[in-house]
Amino acid sequence: MSTDDAIRLTHVAKSFSGHSAVKDLSLAVPRGSVFGLLGPNGAGKTTTLRMVMNILAPDNGTIEILGAPAGPRSRDRIGYMPEERGLYPRMVLEEQLLFLAEIKGTPRREAARRLPAWLERLGLADWAKRKVNELSKGMQQKAQFIATVLHEPEVLVLDEPMSGLDPVGMDNMRHVLLDLKRQGTTLILSSHQMETVERLCDRVVLIDRGEKILDGRVSDVKKEHGKNTLVLAFDGDGSFLASLPGVGGITHFGRHVEIRLTEAADPQILLREATARLRVSRFEIVEPSLHDIFVARVTAHGKAVA
C-alpha cells in the first residue's frame, strides 16, 4: 500500500434502503494534489465525501486516509466544508470558530492564537465579536472556510468552495487555496463550476449514478478528448452551422459558439462555409473544455445505462 495517497477508496459501495448511491468506487487522491470530484446532482458525491469523513460507513470496500483506515482519528486530519453550509446563527463568530476547532481536537488557546490571522486574511477581523446571523452570505461562506482550516488539517475537502462569493472573494479564495497547496495541503474540491475546477485542479474524477466514468490528470483527460473543438466568433445568423457536415454539436456562449467536430470532419471546409456567409472575427481549434467533456461523458453514460 502506498502512503503517497492522501485518500484512497477501494471498491467502496453504499446504498440507502435499496437505492445504491455509490457502486464499487475506487479512486486515489495523491498527497499534495488538488483533486476535483465531479458529477451531476445525485451522482453520489456527497455520500462519498460523508464516507471519507466517517459520517457514514461504507457497506463494502475500504477507505484509507493518509495511510490509515478511515475512522474517528483520521477525520481530525481533514477539514470538511459540506455543500450545505452550517453555523450556529445566534453564536458569536469568534466563539463559534474556536468551538469548531476544539471539537477537531485543537486546544482552545492554540486555535485562539491562529484565529486573528485567518480573520484578517478573509476580511472578517471586524466581525469577530458579531453574531453569525448578522453576517452577509458571502461573509458566512468565508467564516465557514475558516472553520474548515483552523485546525490545520492535512487534507481539505471543500464542497462548492466558491459559491456565494463575489469575483473579488473568488480570487482571494483561489489564492488562499493555492497557498495551502504550496504548504503541502491536499485539496479535494467538489464543484459544478467547471471553470474553477479547470483553473485549480491537477486531477479529476467524474462520477455518475454512483460509478466512476472518468479519472485522470486534467491535462491528460483533455488530450484524450482530442483537439476536436472549434471556437467561432462571428456577426450574422449562424443557425445553418448545425446542419453542416462534421458538426457534432454546438454550445452557444452569447458572443461565440463552441462546435464539437465529429471524427471525420475537416475544419477547413467549415471555415470556408462560415466565411462565405458570416463575418468571422475568431476561429480557433482548441482542446475541449472540462464543461464539454463533463456533458458529453455524463450524457453518454446516461444513454448506456438506460
Binding site: S17, M53, N54, I55, G86
Partner: protein, 418 residues
C-alpha cells in the same frame, strides 16, 4: 471525553447567557411568588372599615347586633362602623338607606325582618357583596346574637352553652423519623407545587433538547459537527449541557428561596413559619428525580428532533412522548391520598411515571428504601435503553432531510448498523 467537554460547554454557555434563560430564571420565581403571595396579601388586607346601618323591623335586635358588630376587629382596627338609620316610616327608611348606599354614604345596610329571631333570616344590601371575609364576619355576628337571644329566651345561659358545645380544633401533626411537626394542609399544597415544578421543568428542558436538535438540523450545522465528533457524543453533550442549565436554574431558585426565607424570618413574617420544612432528603430527591425524568424524556425528545425537519412536524410526534408525564400528573390526587397503596406503588415503579410519582410519594410519606432503590434501578436501566435507541435514531436522522420518516422507517434506522 476531551471532545465531549466543548459540546457540553457550548450548549451550557449559549443557553445560560441567553436573555430567555435569564428572564425565565429571574422572573419565574417572581411571577410564581407574585401569583401566590399578592392575591393572598390583597385578600388579607382589609382596607377601610365598612360603614353600615341596621334596619331592624322588630326594633329589639338592632342594639345587640350593633354591639356584636362594633366589637369585631380586623388587622387590629374596628371593622364595622354603624350609622344610625334614618327615622320615619319603614318604607321611607328603607328608601333612604338604599339611596345612601348607592350614593356612597354607606357601604351597605343589614335588614333584620320582624321574624328574624324565629326564622333566622336576615339580608345584607351592599354595593359590594363579594367581600367574603367581611360577609362571613357579619353573618357570624348576627347568627351569634340571634342564637344567644333564642337560648336566653329558652332559659339557658348562652355563655355556658357555648362552652359546652365547643367544637374540636383538629390539629394535624406529621410524624416522621426526624420528629413531629404541625402541618395545616400546607403539606399537600407543597407536594403539588413541587410535583408541578418537576413536571414543568422536565417538559421544558426536554423541549429545549427537541428544538435544539431541530435547529442544528435545519441550519445544517450538524453535518459540520458530526464530521468532527460522533453523533452519539453530540447527543450526549447536548443532553448534559441542557441538563446542567436546568440544574443551574434550580440552584438559583433554591438560593433565592433561602434568601427570601432568611429575610422573611428577619422581618418576622408569620406566614413563612407555616411553610413545610425543605429537608435535604427532599432537595436531593427532587434533583435526583429531575435528572432521571429529564434524561429519560430528553433522550426521547432528541430522537424525535432527529427524525423531523421542523418544529411543526415535531408536534405530532412529541405528544406521545410526553403523554406519560401528563398521565403521571393526573394520578397525583390518588397517590396523595394513598401513597402506599398497591396501585400507587406499582405506578410509581413504572419508569416513565417514576420521576413524578415516586417523588410525590417521597414528599408525602417516605416509601420503603427498597422501593426507592428499585425505582432508581428500573428508571436508570430504561434511560440506558432509551439512550441506546435514541442514539441510533439520532445518528441516521440528523442527516435525513425531506419527507418525515414513517414509524417502520425509524425502526429500520434503529436496527441498521451504519
Amino acid at each position: 471525553m476531551s471532545r465531549l467537554w466543548p459540546i457540553v460547554r457550548r450548549e451550557y454557555l449559549e443557553r445560560v447567557r441567553s436573555k430567555a434563560f435569564i428572564i425565565a430564571t429571574v422572573l419565574g420565581p417572581v411571577l410564581m411568588g407574585g401569583l401566590m403571595v399578592i392575591p393572598a396579601l390583597v385578600a388579607g388586607k382589609a382596607g377601610k372599615p365598612l360603614r353600615l346601618s341596621i334596619l331592624d323591623d322588630s326594633g329589639a335586635l338592632a342594639a345587640p347586633v350593633e354591639f356584636q358588630l362594633a366589637r369585631l376587629r380586623r388587622d387590629g382596627n374596628p371593622r364595622f362602623v354603624i350609622d344610625p338609620p334614618p327615622s320615619g316610616p319603614p318604607e321611607a327608611r328603607e328608601h333612604g338607606l338604599k339611596t345612601a348606599v348607592i350614593e356612597g354614604r354607606l357601604d351597605g345596610y343589614l335588614h333584620l325582618p320582624a321574624d328574624s329571631l324565629q326564622n333566622a333570616s336576615a339580608s345584607y344590601f351592599g354595593r359590594n357583596v363579594s367581600n367574603m371575609i367581611d360577609l362571613r364576619m357579619m353573618e357570624d355576628a348576627v347568627s351569634d346574637t340571634l342564637v344567644g337571644l333564642r337560648l336566653a329566651g329558652a332559659g339557658l345561659d348562652p355563655i355556658k352553652v357555648r362552652d359546652l358545645t365547643k367544637k374540636v380544633d383538629l390539629k394535624t401533626i406529621r410524624l416522621t423519623a426526624e420528629g413531629e411537626r404541625e402541618d395545616r394542609g400546607a403539606g399537600a399544597l407543597f407536594s403539588i407545587t413541587l410535583l408541578m415544578m418537576l413536571y414543568t421543568t422536565v417538559l421544558m428542558w426536554g423541549q429545549a433538547v427537541l428544538t435544539g436538535v431541530i435547529e442544528e438540523k435545519s441550519n445544517r450545522v450538524v453535518e459540520v459537527i458530526v464530521s468532527s465528533v460522533t453523533s452519539t457524543k453530540l447527543m450526549a453533550g447536548k443532553l448534559l449541557g441542557v441538563g446542567a442549565v436546568g440544574l443551574t436554574q434550580f440552584l438559583v431558585w433554591v438560593l433565592s428561596l433561602a434568601a427570601v426565607s432568611v429575610l422573611g424570618a428577619n422581618f418576622g413574617a408569620g406566614s413563612l413559619a407555616h411553610m413545610p420544612e425543605v429537608t435535604f432528603l427532599l432537595l436531593a430527591s427532587f434533583v435526583l428525580y429531575f435528572l432521571l425524568g429529564y434524561l429519560l424524556y430528553s433522550a426521547l425528545f432528541a430522537a424525535v428532533g432527529a427524525s423531523v425537519n421542523t418544529t411543526q412536524e415535531a408536534q405530532s410526534l412529541a405528544f406521545p412522548v410526553f403523554m406519560p408525564l401528563v398521565v403521571g400528573v393526573m394520578f397525583f390526587p390518588m397517590v396523595l391520598n394513598a401513597p402506599d397503596s398497591t396501585l400507587s406503588t406499582v405506578l410509581s415503579l413504572i419508569p416513565l411515571l417514576t420521576p413524578l410519582l415516586m417523588f410525590l410519594r417521597i414528599t408525602v410519606q417516605v416509601p420503603p428504601m427498597w422501593q426507592i432503590a428499585l425505582s432508581i434501578v428500573l428508571t436508570g436501566a430504561s434511560i440506558a435503553g432509551v439512550l441506546w435507541v435514541a442514539a441510533r435514531i439520532y445518528r441516521v436522522g440528523i442527516l435525513m432531510y425531506g419527507k418525515r420518516p414513517t414509524f417502520p422507517e425509524i425502526l429500520r434506522w434503529v436496527r441498521s448498523s451504519g
